[in-house]
Each structure stands twice: as structure tokens, then as C-alpha cells.
Symmetry: C3
Subunit: 138 residues, 3 copies
């Protein structure tokens, strides 16, 4: 069985947004017991992160690390049509993940105790983000 | 239904090569309407990148960023059997993606408007690269 | 056909552990000839790496690179409940891969000659790691 759904998310700018429950509800609604759940972001300046979901400081540190690794407005970047965060957002997306695949077990994504699924908005302004979720299995 | 095909690409050395249309044509040839398309590079010194496909400066900046992050011939590297770009190519591969999975919707990979699929050659010399494309769905 | 199995691995601390044969044996046991094999780590401080598997210096260099990129105990990190390697392990996980999907061809994962599948333990102490392997195909 293959089922495909779309999630829409309005972000408020740079940061990570927990979509774990949205994805789990889609999986539950298909009735698939065993299989895979694929999550895909249709953008080049936002990505996905499977991250510790208990202490919010972890995602704050992740943000700090990434802001240091990929500097907004770095003079080495040529592409800056949409401002200093434009090219940085593309790099951050490539260094992380546009798609994640999760095992479905007993009708749910079999995440570890500390794992949560996050959309990572890399632009400083808010955007409307589209995520396609495809679920395959029995 | 499962269909598997092989793409062969002769690169001309370091840089990114657009394979979006090659992948879309394989998907179209299977007749699969809804499902997933998995793209896999069989090498440890070339990878895949889902990247902005409109302004070529984006991929030029991506190259500049990566060359700064992972320095060819960095003296901290022990493994340099095949020259200064050898170990750098392995690191660049691990930091990006050997495989990508894309949703298939209405008989095509459902990419965002700005998304393109690129093979990223990390060696300075050209290589013959082998990519396996597996498509599953209804 | 969908088959799902669990691999358990006791690591001895930071470093990479070859799980290629474990995964190949699971695939062989299913009898699937053509399809996909999905490998998923249920943790936020260990990840997966598809890496050169011939010269051990490659993985040693990978470790050196990563230790330089993400410094244990970096004062910019707030989250350090479990020691200086705690937040660094989360960052290393996000920069690499929690899941890998591999094509199955002729009853085996169709890896390139130099490719091996490794669990990458990012904590300095040993941990018991759980990996879910899901195989789909005909």
C-alpha cells in the first residue's frame, strides 16, 4: 500500500519546528502496520532534522553551531539576491537533509525515545513550507 | 511494483552535474504514478545534492564553501594515496548524501520549483560514476 | 514484501563500526531480489556513515576532521548535561545520517566496491545501539 499526504507549515523565521506528531498522525491514518514513512521538504532553504527532543537547549546549540559554520552574508558568497541569509540557507539545507525515511512499526514511526522530527527553517523571515509524506507498507 | 535502472555519468572533474531530467525520464518510463524514487551513488568520492537549480552561482558558492570547509591536502589527513583531493573527497561525500529518496506524484518526482538533483563530483579529475535508481509504487 | 529486523550493537566508545555484513545477511535472509534496504539508528548521538572500507586511515581521518569541526566542550554549547561530548555528539549526528537507504539487487545491497556501512558512535563512552533494518521489494 502507498499513501501520500501533504503537510503545510507556516514558519516564523529561522529555527526548528517540531512536526513529529503531524507525521505520526498521518501514519496512523493509513492503517499501515509495518513499512516506511518518507518525509520530503520541497524547498532549498529549509530542511529536516532528526534531533534530541527533550531539552530545547539542544536545538538552540544546533542553531548556534550552524550560524558559526555557515556565516550569513559571508563575502565569499556570490549569490545574495534575497539578502545575507539567502546563500547561507542553501548551504545549511545541503549540509542537513531534504528527506528522511523512518521505519513504521506497529502502526507508528519507530523513533528512539529522544528522537523528534523537526522542520528546520533556514531563512530569517517566515515562509510557508510544503512537506510531502509518503507511506509504504502492509 | 519495483523497477531498477542504472545511470552512468562521465564527469569532467570536481563540480555538480544536473541529473534531474535523467531521473525524471526513468520515473516516467516505469508508469508508476504514486510512490518513491531512490537515487544511489556507488562511490565514496562523489555524492548527491538536491540544490537550487536556477542561478548557477548557488552551486559555485556551494563549491567555494565546501573547499573552505574541507581543505585539499590538509596536513591532518593521513590518507592521501591518490593525491590531495583524495581524503577531502571522502569527507565531502560523508557530509553530503550518497542516497536521496524523492516522492513520486502524478508520475513524476515531485520536486519543488527550485529543486534540482545533482551529482557532485568531489575528485579533481573526471571519473565514470554509476548511479542506481530504484522506483517503487503503484 | 516488507521485512523488518533489529540489530543491536554494543559500542566501545567513539569510532566507527562496520555493520556491512550484518545488513547483507539480513537482506539475504528475506529472499528479496530487487528492492530497497533501509537502515535506521534509533539514537541522537550515533549515526550512519557510508564510507571507504579498505584503508582504515580513511575513517581515522574522518574522526580527526569531525573532532576539529565540532569541538567537544565548546563553550558556545549550553547543553552539556552528560559531559563535553554530549552536545558535540548531537551535532555530529545531525551533520551525518540517522538513516540510509540502499538498493537491493540480485538479493544483496548493491554497494560500490569501496563502500562499507558503518555505525558511527559519537559518545566517548560505549553504548548499546539499536538499529532497525526494513527491507522492501520482490
Amino acid at each position: 500500500m502507498v499513501e501520500q499526504e501533504t503537510l503545510l507549515l507556516n514558519t516564523k523565521g529561522r529555527g526548528s519546528y517540531n512536526i513529529t506528531e503531524d507525521v505520526q498522525q498521518l501514519v496512523a491514518s493509513t492503517g499501515i502496520e509495518t513499512g516506511l514513512c518518507h518525509v520530503f521538504v520541497m524547498h532549498t532553504s529549509a530542511s529536516l532534522m532528526l534531533c534530541e527532543n527533550a531539552d530545547p537547549a539542544v536545538r538552540q546549540d544546533m542553531e548556534t553551531f550552524m550560524a558559526n559554520l555557515v556565516c550569513d552574508g559571508d563575502p565569499m558568497f556570490i549569490h545574495c539576491d534575497e539578502g545575507p541569509d539567502d546563500m547561507a540557507a542553501h548551504v545549511r539545507t545541503v549540509l542537513t537533509h531534504s528527506d528522511l525515511t523512518l521505519p513504521v512499526q506497529a502502526g507508528r514511526c519507530a523513533l528512539g525515545v529522544w528522537q523528534g522530527i523537526f522542520l528546520w527553517e533556514h531563512r530569517t523571515m517566515g515562509h510557508r513550507r510544503k512537506i510531502i509524506v509518503t507511506m509504504q507498507g502492509d
